[in-house]
């Protein structure tokens, strides 16, 4: 049992080390380093030996010294003997090895004898592996989007793998793509349009949704259950099915290529979720507060504006942020309804830009960064509000 577990442990941990070092090598390659091979076999042997040595040495040396010794040996071989690589690469490799040896330091040769230790090792390493794998897979495209926007067409043609950013150059050269899209492609105007449309949608949606949600949450009326079930069903309904009739009607009414047209459609599509999310929250507000207000002869307008709204600021902000993000990211209707560049939103403008095969891709990526940054910023900053909103309403997408 012990020998089997020792081998298994060393095997898994060395696979994990291969994975760590490979990610580092990919990132280093993309900084223009000429790394032609992952040297999987060598790293496997290293990982295996380090794990065995770690178990063998045990407590005889302090674990911090152990980590530093193992890491240094690895870095010396990998970054100097096999291929001479720059200091920053080796420093990174050293930190990775330090992290790795720290991770394995909690396993001891005695612990490996315990029941289920095979599964515990597997489970632990799968979790670690998963965290790193998913972080990499998710962040990599975002990282590439950002670094590509700082490169030039010629630099990418010379070496398609060199995404290193030269911070020494002039600010104007570094942000050239951004200057171009704002100057020649009128992105400033599109930002304004997108902002007006998104903020407008938020305001109108809230104006319509708050009273409706209050009625659904509190008042008794004929057709209430019908209304609340149809809200959910409408929410499931596909936007692509609405496109053709809305296109024909909007064409005949002259609402295409107008901000008003987009506002109407965005408000209508976000209203069901907004009502659904808000009424759930309104129901949780104690009824006694309103009963006192009714005795004071407050009208429904007074009740909503003086009691309900001040008490549900968190829910209302979560709905507002959420509706803003839907409107900002929306693409289908802006594709269908806008064909005059003067009324484009950001998403539509980027799609239009990509339609021209001549457009250098760093401009496309700069545009993508411009449209993505506000959303990610809002999301990270207000995450607490948004996550509760997301699970309550389950975002449409």
């Amino acid at each position: 049992m012990r020998i089997k577990n020792t081998i298994l442990f060393s095997f898994i941990s060395s696979i994990f080390l291969i994975f760590l070092i490979s990610i580092w090598k990919i990132l280093a390659t993309l900084q223009g380093l000429s790394i032609k091979s992952f040297n999987i076999e060598i790293i496997f042997i290293f990982g295996f030996l380090i794990s065995l040595a770690h178990l063998g040495v045990g407590d005889r040396i302090k674990s911090i010294y152990k980590s530093i010794i193992f890491s240094s040996i690895f870095v010396f071989c990998d970054g100097y003997l096999i291929q001479k690589l720059p200091i920053w690469y080796n420093l990174g490799a050293f930190l990775i090895l330090y992290f790795f040896t720290n991770k394995i330091s909690k396993y001891t040769s005695i612990g490996l004898k315990e029941e289920h230790s095979t599964q515990v090792i597997l489970f632990d390493f799968l979790t670690l592996f998963g965290i790193l794998f998913f972080s990499f897979v998710i962040l990599f495209p975002f990282y590439m989007m950002l670094v590509t926007s700082f490169k030039t067409q010629i630099a990418l043609l010379v070496n398609p793998l060199d995404f290193s950013i030269n911070f020494g150059q002039d600010i104007k050269d570094l942000f050239k793509s951004y200057f171009v899209i704002f100057k020649s492609y009128k992105f400033g105007k599109y930002i304004v349009t997108s902002t007006i449309v998104s903020v407008g949608t938020v305001i109108i949606t809230l104006l319509f949704a708050i009273p409706a949600a209050y009625a659904v949450a509190r008042l008794n009326f004929f057709g209430k259950t019908f209304l609340s079930t149809s809200i959910l069903i409408i929410y499931m309904f596909p936007a692509i099915v609405l496109v053709i009739p809305l296109y024909t009607i909007f064409s005949q009414l002259g609402l295409r290529n107008s901000i008003e047209g987009l506002l109407i459609v965005y408000t209508a599509t976000t209203l069901p979720v907004a009502i659904y999310m808000l009424q759930g929250y309104f129901k949780s507000i104690p009824k006694e507060l309103e009963e006192a207000a009714i005795l004071d002869k407050l009208s429904w307008f007074g009740i909503i504006s003086k009691i309900i709204i001040p008490l549900s600021i968190p829910a209302i902000s979560s709905v507002a942020l959420y509706v803003f993000m839907i409107a900002w990211n929306e693409f289908l209707f802006s594709l269908m309804f806008l064909d005059n560049p003067n009324s484009f939103t950001l998403s539509r403008a980027i799609q239009y830009l990509s339609g021209d095969a001549e457009t250098p891709r760093q401009y496309l990526m700069a545009g993508s960064v411009v449209v993505t940054l506000p959303v990610l910023f809002i999301f990270v900053y207000f995450e607490k509000y948004l996550v509760s909103g997301l699970t309550a309403g389950s975002v449409k997408g």
Binding site: G130, P141, F208, A268, W328, N329, S394
Partner: protein, 419 residues
């Protein structure tokens, strides 16, 4: 007393809900019925523009006579295919103008020129001229004359409103050879996209539910693909996967893992031999499904994580006492606790993936075997400009969805009964 109270409550409720209900019904429910109507018609994109009578006013001075002026109206029917009936025309003039040699179709009263032009066939054009003179001998201000715009009016059939119906669209949609292919593609895309995103959702939720350094950061990062705009993400992926200069192909070539670049988004099939079997994989479709999974597993992750955090800790403690292994705990405690969430997620994601348009449209435009039903709506309606066909495809989508929901709820209902 109670009765009146209930009545005012009802009234208030209707006033409060009416704006929202009206808007949603007119923008969402009405179009669905309009779709049914249009799907039985032969309508093309160019037919939906209402034909308009138009006039361009050109003011010409008459040489040597400053008190006289000629006005040329370039009249035309804006439509290339439809007739306009009973065209009427009206233009106003300053109060010192008299008309000379008036056209028999027109009358001039109170400084107002009115004409009845009768019917204009499609593409109709006419140059119509009027001569005027001031009756007090004053000079003519050409700019002022030009600034007054003539008004035109006419009647035309709105092709959308007549009652000519046909079954042609549905025959074309359902009985053309590609329909089966279209259905299969849509099904693969929807099913594998849904299952993939749920599987990854379970894995990531299980991961984040454990304690580790940077856990809240990890939770935010996992949601990035879901909250970022699809346009930006699709173009980034396209750039990464490009066969000529894409980063992925360059990397694989650099490490000598492949010898020639793979066109992940532009190649329909790829031959793969596995365990001695050769089979063809739908390459572009697989890539598009990967994007789909990548973009939507965060939703599954969020839902499942919320459920995992609600599982009582005592269950795991009891299992520890019994000496259960981590995998036993996962399969015997965790999984049964999240089946309800998974079945809801499956339905939501299945429906939404079935209708997903933007992702495929931006990545491949529906080429190389990635044409799904929603893409077909767009292609029929806007690329081929056959609005009627596009509507018919939309109706097929709605019917399929309703069928899916019906069976899903029946199945689900049965399982709930058994428990």
């Amino acid at each position: 007393m109670n009765d009146t109270l209930a009545n005012t409550e009802k009234k208030t409720a209707y006033i409060l809900t009416l704006p929202a209900v009206l808007l949603v019904f007119s923008i969402i429910l009405f179009p669905i019925f309009a779709n049914i109507w249009i799907s039985f018609k032969e309508v093309e994109l160019k037919d939906i523009r209402i034909p308009e009578p138009r006039a361009k006013k050109i003011v010409k001075s008459v040489s040597d006579e400053p008190t006289k002026i000629k006005i040329l109206y370039k009249l035309r029917n804006s439509s290339l295919i439809q007739e306009i009936k009973d065209v009427s025309f009206q233009d106003n003039f300053p109060k010192n103008f008299e008309v000379e040699n008036l056209d028999p179709r027109c009358s001039y009263e109170k400084y107002r020129l009115k004409c009845k032009f009768g019917n204009w066939p499609a593409k109709y054009r006419e140059n119509f001229q009027v001569e005027l003179e001031t009756n007090d001998g004053s000079k003519i201000d050409k700019k002022n004359l030009k600034s007054i715009k003539p008004k035109l009016d006419g009647k035309s059939d709105n092709i959308l409103l007549n009652t000519n119906f046909t079954l042609k669209n549905f025959k074309k949609v359902l009985f053309e050879n590609e329909f089966i292919d279209l259905l299969l593609t849509t099904f693969y895309y929807t099913f594998f996209g849904t299952v993939g995103s749920i599987v990854f959702g379970i894995l990531t939720a299980q991961m984040v539910n454990q304690k580790f350094y940077g856990r809240t950061f990890m939770r935010s990062v996992l949601l990035f693909p879901y909250v970022a705009p699809v346009v930006a993400l699709a173009y980034t992926w396209e750039l990464l996967l490009d066969p000529n200069s894409g980063t992925l192909n360059s990397l694989l070539l650099n490490y000598q893992i492949i010898e020639t670049p793979i066109n992940l988004l532009g190649q329909k099939y790829i031959e793969i031999s596995l365990l001695g079997f050769d089979f063809k994989l739908r390459l572009a479709l697989t890539t598009v499904i990967m994007f789909e999974i990548w973009r939507y597993f965060p939703l599954a992750f969020l839902f499942i994580l919320a459920r995992l955090q609600a599982i009582p800790k005592e269950l795991y403690e009891a299992a520890d006492v019994d000496g259960a292994s981590p995998f036993q705990k996962f399969f015997n405690i965790t999984l049964p606790q999240i089946t309800a969430v998974i079945s809801i997620l499956f339905m939501i994601r299945f429906i939404w993936n079935f209708n997903k348009f933007e992702d495929v449209f931006l990545l491949t435009g529906g080429a190389s075997g990635t044409r799904t039903l929603p893409i077909n709506v767009y292609q029929q309606g806007f690329a081929i400009s056959d609005i009627g066909m596009g509507s018919a495809v939309s109706i097929v989508i709605v019917v399929l969805l309703l069928m899916f929901m019906f069976f899903y709820f029946k199945l689900l209902g049965k399982r709930v009964d058994e428990n």
